[in-house]
Subunit: 223 residues, 2 copies
């Protein structure tokens, strides 16, 4: 089945990494894959555009189905391979409600993280303002405090003891925060979550290769 | 069952409206609800904060479960009430893949729409730039063209003939575009989608009350 799947991906991109973790969790190793380089603009190549008209990575095909949105790919894979590999949607309504709520709140976390990390990339030089940078940092700090609170109240994973689809979808973003220098001492619950999951087989097997060969950055160290 | 649910909502807010449509689709009428006014800052009231610490609407409680993210609420309701009301996740893998892909692409549409409609609300006066306004408009136009293409290829609904969870989640945003003056002639496929669904019972029953009593706006008429 995995032989019918093709993933074009970029190293370190949380959306790409989500699908890679998901494929491991569902025992769908052996899919076709190609690592492309953002810095060479390979995400704008015809090969990508043929699958993803936005010219973004991931570009993911599962048989004839195009599932470039990482959340879409993960939901689809869980639904199609319910009884294969790990079951990632819990039966308990309590865990299920928490799983859904956290995975969708993570869009806000991702947005606020991107507003800080990509400010200079997204905003042309003549439109930049220190006041905007400061406001973005404050918004990210407030958001991270919410997540500290959430993680302080759970056992290990986002929706309780079990590893769920929420962790597949949210962990890569949390790892990204630390890759960009988030301070473990100021965010101990996030750091504990990161540490407790980073050696999980599906995550370890798909760790971004460029993160192993280049040093971490310090963009978020003052957050 | 619906008596255990409480929805605090604001008129015209796509995330609130999604949950209202969903509750109709699943025959969960009779829930507790309260219409609050954004312009009176009622979304920052203690009543809201007790359910939604972000001080945003919707604030939605389903029994003891807090599901303030509209996507989370809709997924949870579909899962908990699978055999009640309309089934909103199709069995066919084709329709299912398309449904997931479109509902998550809609986050990008919503973001680009918000960047244009709320520019003055989000960006302080001293940080505003005509070049940014222009860029946001171009990004929204490009995004809308993608959706025109998608809708040109489907029958009636986003994932084919059947009304699915993708329509529950995306329709309110499309209605919002037209409420803010999007030109039907320039976007005929979006307009056809809007027209074909606006009288669906679940949608008609929950149409934003303030839209009936105040005129539409023209923010998007040049898009």
């Amino acid at each position: 089945m995995a032989k019918d799947m093709t993933l074009l991906w970029g190293s370190g991109s949380p959306p790409c990494w989500r699908i890679q973790i998901m494929l491991e969790e569902k025992q769908l190793q052996g899919y076709n894959q190609k690592l492309l380089a953002f810095e060479k603009m390979e995400h704008k190549s015809q090969e990508v555009l043929d699958i993803n008209p936005r010219g973004q990575l991931p570009a993911f095909k599962c048989g004839n189905h195009i599932l470039n949105e990482s959340y879409a790919a993960c939901f689809f894979l869980e639904n199609q391979y319910k009884s294969q590999g790990n079951k990632l949607i819990p039966d308990s309504p309590d865990a299920q409600a928490l799983m859904y709520q956290r995975m969708f709140e993570a869009f806000t976390l991702g947005q606020k993280m991107a507003d800080v990390i990509y400010y200079n990339y997204k905003v042309p030089e003549e439109e930049r303002h220190d006041s905007a940078v400061q406001r973005n940092k404050e918004a990210l700090t407030a958001e991270l405090k919410l997540w500290e609170g959430y993680l302080n109240k759970t056992d290990c994973c986002l929706a309780g003891k079990e590893f769920t689809l929420a962790d597949v979808l949210v962990f890569p973003g949390v790892a990204y925060l630390f890759r960009f220098g988030l301070c473990s001492e100021r965010y101990p619950a996030l750091a504990k979550y990161y540490t407790s999951l980073k050696d999980r087989p599906s995550i370890k097997a798909t760790w971004p290769p460029t993160w192993q060969s280049t040093p971490a950055q310090d963009t978020l160290k003052t957050i």
